[in-house]
């Protein structure tokens, strides 16, 4: 299909607190929009069918697969990506806990892990290990064997509760 025939829409979307207006082809997925149109390449594209969780972002505060949404569906809404976690260029408690506990190796799954846990720890500040494992079942990691990720999540929960 020639570009002139492409079905496009103007969308206005807030990402990490900044509002963007862009013309997008309606078939563009949210994750491709974030990466290619906004240059926010922290959100990773893995399986592109909703299984691996690497592209997890928050949509109006709820975790969602950015590969299973169209950018056009996010018009008027608020998206938070991994770039929105650090405060004044300083890692937040969750990110710091990942670094301190070696919760990542290659780092490909990490943005998705962090976004899933951002929602989860906000709603469940004092989770058990099995609850952490349950919620992380939607994020695949091929390096760590998950032990260090679970340890980082529990450590982060403790730090957040203690106001660190």
């Amino acid at each position: 299909m020639a570009d002139s025939m492409a079905d496009t829409r103007r969308i206005i979307v807030t990402v990490n607190g900044r509002t963007y207006a862009r013309d997008v082809e309606t078939r563009m997925t949210l994750v491709d929009f974030l990466r290619h149109d906004l240059d926010l390449t922290g959100t990773h594209v893995g399986c592109e069918h909703g299984v691996c969780g690497a592209c997890t972002v928050l949509l109006d505060g709820r975790s969602a697969r950015a590969c299973l949404m169209l950018a056009v569906q996010c018009s008027g809404r608020e998206v938070t990506t991994v770039e929105g976690l650090a405060v004044d260029e300083k890692l937040n408690s969750l990110q710091q806990a990942f670094q301190d506990n070696h919760g990542l190796q290659c780092g490909f799954c990490t943005p998705g892990m962090l976004m899933t846990l951002s929602e989860f720890l906000r709603d469940h500040p004092d989770p058990s290990e099995s609850e952490v494992r349950e919620v992380l079942s939607g994020n695949l990691c091929r390096c760590t064997g998950y032990q260090a990720i679970v340890a980082a999540a529990l450590d982060a929960a403790r730090r957040i509760r203690e106001g660190a």
Partner: protein, 306 residues
């Protein structure tokens, strides 16, 4: 650095996963039904957790995509008397966290814990799951267990479809191309019934190979007064094994009755595919039927002894 990224973007900009389509986002049910009647090769987009993967891989290449996410009248959840009414666009998350569903229809809550993952349940809808009609989908199973009534709408009018008639084949429902699933009415289980939903999947959150749900009610003597079983993964639609359900009536809720029922479940017809043969599915049907009945009966007993 930024300029460099920009250059790369421009080169890859035209690489879109989905094939081209025209996007429609109606804000009312009547507009949605209108579009569906008028457009050729249109697909309806609900939560997108099944259709979007198919579109990304170009297994599905609709010319028109009708997005229901702005049709707010299709998102509702009412427990009223002895029925639960749910709109097709009600998110799985909202069912999962509903206190009313948890207390009046706990088998639904237990089943939802197996539906994908939190991130997919945040978007996924009841209607989307029912219409995708995966042979082992948990919400399809629970709808069959409770004998739900599905409501469809088209320009031609409204139609009620009993769950037993909804399946037309593998991943295929009885809906016509111009019909839209708008809601579901589920008869709630009796308050004394014990429930269970169990399944076996290769990985947490995957579609089950076989799933089994059960409801058990006990009579005044502590014997089984009513029993319902739904097995998924054996055929394109969930199976309600009527003879097994009847066979449990009047029995003591104990090992002998569960074992006999499970043995019969292990004799049911089962499909096979490249990954799982029929014998293994029957084995799982036997094991899971036993577990579901045992758990449902224990819960019914707990309620009886209150």
């Amino acid at each position: 650095m930024l300029g460099c990224t920009r250059h790369r973007c421009e080169k890859t900009h035209n690489i879109m996963k989905p094939a081209p389509f025209t996007y429609h986002d109606p804000s009312s049910l009547s507009d949605a039904v209108d579009l569906l009647a008028r457009l050729d090769n249109a697909r309806v987009l609900a939560g997108g957790q099944s259709l979007m993967p198919m579109i990304n891989f170009r297994y599905a290449m609709p010319d028109h995509l009708i997005d229901l996410n702005n049709v707010s009248e299709l998102a509702y959840l009412d427990c009223e008397g002895d029925v639960l009414r749910v709109g097709a666009m009600t998110r799985q998350r909202d069912l999962e966290f509903s206190a009313e569903v948890r207390s009046r229809c706990p088998v639904m809550t237990e089943a939802l814990g197996h539906v994908g993952h939190r991130q997919t349940r945040n978007r996924g809808t009841l209607g989307g799951s029912l219409c995708h009609f995966d042979p082992s989908a948990e919400l399809v199973n629970v709808t069959a267990l409770l004998g739900g009534m599905l409501h469809a709408e088209s320009k031609r009018g409204r139609r009620d479809i009993p769950m037993a008639d909804f399946g037309a084949g593998y991943l295929t429902t009885d809906l016509s191309p111009d019909e839209l699933l708008v809601g579901l009415t589920l008869p709630l289980p009796a308050t004394g019934d014990g429930h269970a939903f169990v399944e076996f999947a290769r990985r947490r959150g995957d579609f089950a190979i076989v799933a089994c749900s059960a409801l058990i009610g006990l009579d005044g003597d502590g014997n089984i007064g009513n029993a319902a079983i739904a097995l998924s993964g054996l055929a394109h639609a969930p199976v309600r094994p009527a003879s097994i359900e009847r066979g449990l009536m009047g029995e003591k809720p104990a090992h002998a009755a569960f074992k006999a029922a499970a043995a019969e479940a292990g004799e049911l017809d089962a499909t096979e595919d490249a990954y799982t043969n029929a014998a293994y599915r029957r084995h799982l049907a036997r094991v899971l039927t036993y577990r579901a009945l045992e758990r449902a009966a224990a819960r019914a007993l707990e309620k009886l002894n209150g």
